[in-house]
């Protein structure tokens, strides 16, 4: 079975739905017509057959059933409902039919409504015609079969057949109506079906057909079953025809018989009349002796005789009547002979004799018995007539019934056969088609193979399991395998091993969504030859739908050559690209250079052609020489030269030299546009092409007039500075040696004062008074102070003289040394020492030791009021550089006077509060500065002080020299 396209099914359904609705509406309308007794609804034409109430109800139910069956959805209950409807209809129709067949009267015909007996058609009022009943059965069964939830093979043909049968029956009825009304040809007794009933069935029949949509139309073919069916159908038709014929014949026969009987009666009456006429004729003759009467008599006798023979003919089949007829004949003959005798007697013997004969009872008795016999015969005939009329009526009914019925059945079987035919035909067709397909397929297979073989690429066909099912000879050539070696093998045989896993995945995904495409877009694909070498390939895949399932056809192309070419092209491209990029870069550079050159304002950068004509100009050239680009380009560069140089031929000479030396540098006077001179530094370079040919010159000119002046000035300044420097150095040296010798020479007398005063104290204090001793003490104290001062000054001088000798020193150890000494010397005091990590620095350890000594002893000194004194040494960071600090919680100082802190002899505390020479910090600062460091302090009165110093920072130390430098940037003067 082929199912029509869903669209077709859909529209067919719609059609069925529509038809069902129409029929149901029709049924309902007619029912209403019965309710409200609307004659127009019951019978369309006045006086025509009405649609019976049962029929209307049945149409309604069938219409609803059709709607039900053709609608979606299909729940089980729908099927059962449909079956219920069908069952109801079938029951009523079946019962009606059985009424016809068996002559029952079940009282169903007038259940709903009373019918008028006058309405023509069915034998009983209210009873639907047999055709209608049969059509109902067809339709109801057809609908139920169609709506079977479980489809079976013959479902559609059955439904179709039933529908077709219904259609044909309805059509015949409608045709009958049509012919009757139009042509007035009574086709046949259209079996009492109302016209709208027939219409309704027509629609139902189409509805059934609509439920069996077909893709193709009917096709003819023969096979056993369908032939048998068809034969049965034909036989059926013939049987039906024969049957009908027979029934009609019988009907005709019975009717004829009735007619004959009626004829018999007529004949008998005529005989009777004839006899009476003879009688009277005889009498008349006897009375009138008219020959005419005699002649009439003999005519009548002849007539009677013929009647008799007629009767005899008519009653050939009826023995009793024939016997009587014979008897009658005899009697009539007797009577006639008596009549003749009478007449003869009259003629011969006269009237009286005749009268005597007439008045004798013989004639009368004869006539009487003839009458009696005639009456008997008539009675017999009447009886026969009644009997035959009865028979005729029955035959009529049978024919009435059976004829269309049999035709129906025949047609139904025929149509069924048609459908089965069609179905079977379908089978046949399919088988044939199959055959044709197979042949086609074989042919297309061959074509396919031929195509495959002719393909220039290797074609490999693979099934869903990845097995090779077909290859062409190109494959053999390409891979080195023979066809037999590949067929049935896994396709991975020709794929390099490392791709196997992935390939399986890809295969599966391809079959999941098969479409024509190139394999592995963007990937480098390789294939494997029999000898296990690899080669690059391009593969395109396309799915092939076959009856065995989806296959993949892959066209494999060896692209080694192409790859090679591609690579070559790629290299070329890369080359070109590189060159392009290089060019671009060059262009960029050029643009950059041009901009650079253009933007330079301090240098005149110009290009000359090979002859010395000016080819390019920049803003610097404009500034220096005064010409604009427009003015000067094209001119010869010698116009920049002073006349005396031009006279000398300097410009050309220079060019020649450049050509020779490739580059010359010259200083000389040049002319500006306004004629003024300036001192120029000129560099001319030769520009050559790749072959070394000179094509131009690059000339860079600088106005060095100012510069020269400045240089002179600087030189002079330098000289002065040198002089001053050496003077300073001399004076420094003098100062230092002065300081040194002063200090040193000051020491000796001090030493002596101290020494002798000590002797006085040690050896002669007894000779002194207390006051004397006090003064002596003061002398000694002063001496010591002076000694300290001298020492400090000597220190300061010493530091200033020498450059620090740098070595990597751990400041930790330096500080700790001094701290230990201080601890020893100040054992009596409570001092808390906090020493942090100090860095390793490049420094002169001796000098830095002095720094620590000074700072730490200061800390000790100025924390003397504190208990405990807290002195902290550590490192902090400022601007990323290490800073050493010495912090104390001593008396501190006012930051207001901080600038005096490091001055020589400057003190910020009173001498009686804290001893000190005021030289120490100056020395410390000198040392720190000699290390290119910085020293500064931070303090609060009574809250202690912190001294910070750095060593070897990149910052320039604060200028110690008070001498102000020149206004301009100081030029570095190097000592030689």
């Amino acid at each position: 079975m082929t199912i029509g396209s869903p669209a077709q099914a859909f529209s067919s359904r719609r059609v069925a739905l529509l038809l069902g609705t129409l029929v149901a509406a029709l049924g309902l309308a007619v029912l209403l017509g019965w309710v409200f007794d609307v004659a127009g609804l019951k019978g369309v034409f006045p006086g025509s057959v009405t649609m019976k109430a049962n029929t209307a109800a049945g149409l309604l139910l069938c219409g609803l059933n059709l709607v039900l069956v053709s609608s979606f959805p299909n729940p089980r209950c729908k099927y059962f409902l449909g079956c219920a409807l069908s069952l109801l209809v079938v029951t009523v129709a079946g019962l009606t039919l059985s009424e016809y067949f068996f002559g029952w009267n079940l009282g169903i015909d007038q259940r709903l409504f009373h019918d008028v007996a006058a309405s023509v058609g069915t034998t009983k009022p209210g009873r639907m015609s047999p055709t209608t009943a049969l059509s109902f059965i067809f339709v109801a069964i057809g609908l139920s079969v169609r709506s079977l939830p479980v489809p079976f093979r013959w479902q559609r043909p059955t439904v179709g057949a039933l529908g077709a049968a219904t259609i044909i029956a309805a059509t015949m009825t409608l045709a009958g109506y049509f012919l009757q009304s139009v042509v007035d040809y009574h086709l046949w007794n259209y079996n009492g079906t109302a016209v709208h009933t027939a219409a309704g069935f027509l629609l139902l029949g189409f509805g059934l057909l609509a439920l069996t949509p077909r893709k193709q139309g009917f096709t003819w073919s023969l096979n056993a079953i369908t032939t048998g069916g068809f034969a049965i159908g034909i036989v059926g038709v013939l049987a039906a025809a024969g049957g009908s014929n027979y029934l009609i014949y019988r009907l005709q026969e019975s009717v004829a018989l009735v007619g004959r009987t009626q004829e018999d009666l007529k004949v008998l009456q005529q005989i009777d009349a004839g006899m009476a006429s003879l009688e009277s004729g005889q009498r008349l003759f006897i009375i009138t002796l008219d020959e005419q009467a005699l002649r009439q008599r003999s005519e009548t006798k002849v007539t009677v005789q013929s009647y008799l023979s007629d009767f005899g003919k008519l009653t050939v089949n009826d023995p009793s009547q024939r016997r009587r007829a014979a008897e009658l004949d005899q009697m009539i003959a007797q009577r006639n002979s008596w009549g003749d005798q009478t007449i003869t007697a009259l003629r011969n013997q006269g009237f009286q004799v005749a009268e005597r004969m007439i008045s004798s009872d013989e004639g009368t008795a004869l006539t009487g018995s003839i009458h009696a016999l005639l009456a008997e015969m008539s009675a017999e005939e009447y009886r026969l007539l009644a009997e035959r009329q009865e028979k005729s009526s029955a035959a009529s009914t049978s024919a009435f019934l059976a004829l269309p019925l049999s035709v129906f059945l025949a047609v139904a079987v025929l149509v069924l056969a048609l459908f089965f035919l069609d179905a079977g035909v379908g089978e046949q067709i399919r088988a044939e088609e199959e055959l044709v397909n197979v042949r086609e397929r074989r042919r297309s297979d061959q074509n396919f193979r031929a195509l495959l073989e002719s393909a220039p690429d290797a074609m490999v066909i693979v099934d869903t399991r990845g097995k090779i099912v077909l290859v062409n000879s190109q494959t053999e050539k390409l891979f080195g395998f023979s066809k037999s070696e590949l067929l049935g093998q896994a396709v991975e045989t020709i794929i390099p091993h490392r791709y196997h896993g992935r390939h399986t995945q890809h295969r599966d995904s391809f079959f999941g969504d098969p479409k024509v495409r190139a394999m592995g877009l963007g990937l480098e694909l390789f294939a494997l030859r029999k000898d296990q070498t690899e080669f690059p390939v391009e593969i395109s895949l396309s799915p092939i739908e076959t009856s065995e399932g989806t296959l993949v056809s892959s066209a494999i192309r060896d692209i080694t050559e192409r790859k090679r070419i591609e690579q070559g092209i790629q290299r070329l491209n890369e080359d070109l690209e590189r060159r392009g990029m290089a060019l671009e870069a060059l262009n960029q550079q050029l643009a950059g250079f041009q901009k650079l050159v253009e933007g330079v304002r301090d240098y005149a950068i110009i290009m000359l052609d090979a002859k010395g004509g000016i080819a390019s100009w920049n803003s610097g050239a404009q500034l220096i020489k005064g010409y604009t680009a427009e003015e000067i380009i094209g001119q010869h560069f010698s116009r920049f030269y002073p006349p005396e140089d031009i006279a000398n031929g300097k410009p050309d000479r220079e060019l020649r030299e450049v050509a020779r030396l490739d580059r010359i540098e010259d200083e000389g006077w040049r002319l500006r546009k306004d004629g003024s001179r300036f001192l120029a530094n000129v560099v001319i370079s030769a520009l050559r092409d790749t072959n070394g040919n000179l094509w131009g010159f690059a000339k860079v000119t600088r106005d060095i007039t100012e510069q020269r002046k400045t240089e002179e000035g600087i030189r002079q300044l330098n000289q002065e500075l040198k002089k001053r420097g050496s003077e300073l150095e001399i004076s420094n040296k003098e100062l230092e040696s002065f300081t040194y010798s002063v200090s040193h020479d000051l020491r000796a007398p001090l030493r002596h004062i101290d020494g002798f005063s000590k002797i006085l104290v040690e050896d002669h204090s007894a000779e002194l008074s207390e006051e004397g001793r006090e003064y002596l003490d003061l002398i000694r104290v002063s001496t010591r102070e002076m000694g300290q001062l001298v020492d400090d000054l000597l220190d300061l001088a010493r530091v200033g003289r020498k450059d620090p000798v740098l070595q990597l020193t751990g400041l930790d150890s330096l500080a700790n040394e001094i701290i230990s000494a201080l601890k020893r010397d100040n054992a009596g005091r409570s001092i808390e020492w906090k020493v942090g990590r100090l860095p390793f620095v490049e420094c002169d350890p001796g000098l830095i030791k002095q720094v620590f000594t000074n700072l730490l002893s200061n800390a000790v000194k100025y924390t003397s009021p504190r208990k405990p004194a807290v002195i902290e040494v550590g490192t902090s960071t400022q601007d990323g550089k290490p800073v050493v600090f010495v912090r104390d919680n001593g008396v501190g100082f006012n930051m207001k006077h901080a600038d005096k802190l490091f001055g020589v002899f400057q003190r910020l505390h009173r001498a009686e509060d804290f001893e000190g020479t005021g030289v120490g910090l100056a020395t410390v600062r000198r040392i720190v500065h000699k290390h290119h460091g910085r020293i500064w302090a931070d303090a609060k009165v009574d809250q202690g002080a912190t001294f910070y110093f750095t060593l070897g920072t990149s910052e320039s130390p604060e200028a110690e020299s008070p001498e102000p430098g020149p206004e301009k940037q100081p030029i570095e003067v190097r000592h030689e």
Partner: protein, 146 residues
């Protein structure tokens, strides 16, 4: 340890310094025999037993030489060098009298063989320590050797 009196050669030109030094040295008895010379030349004559001191002999050198640096005629460093480079006088301990640390730095006496430094004014304790260090309180060493 008993202070064995020993002979000291004091080379000092400044009279005041001289006085102070002598005072310091004589503080603690026993008095040492102190020979004083007033300049470098004389010191050399003394030590090398020539000039004014030809009567001297090398086998009886002074136990110690206290040498001032700033001397007229021949300065202290020269004397030191001469003494320490001559095998006859090499063994004689020489202690330099310095006026300041400066001076000490200026002279790398140790290189030249000086045995110790004393700062002026001479402190006796200091002197005693050094003398002890130099082993001057021990028995007179045999002249030859070292």
């Amino acid at each position: 340890m008993s202070n064995v009196a020993f002979e000291i050669l004091l080379v000092e030109d400044n009279p005041k310094d001289l006085k102070l030094t002598l005072n310091a040295l004589s503080k603690h008895k026993p008095a040492n025999r102190i020979e004083v010379v007033r300049d470098g030349e004389e010191a050399l004559e003394y030590l090398f037993c020539n000039g004014r001191y030809t009567n001297r002999t090398f086998d009886r050198p002074p136990r110690l030489v206290l040498l001032d640096l700033k001397l007229p005629k021949v300065d202290g460093i020269e004397v030191l060098r001469r003494v320490k480079s001559d095998p006859r006088t090499k063994a004689i301990p020489v202690v330099i009298l310095t006026g300041s640390e400066e001076e000490t730095d200026l002279v790398d006496g140790y290189k030249l063989g000086v045995n110790a430094y004393i700062q002026k004014p001479v402190d006796f304790e200091e002197f005693r320590k050094i003398a002890e260090q130099l082993g001057l309180f021990r028995h007179r060493r045999a002249f030859s050797g070292e």
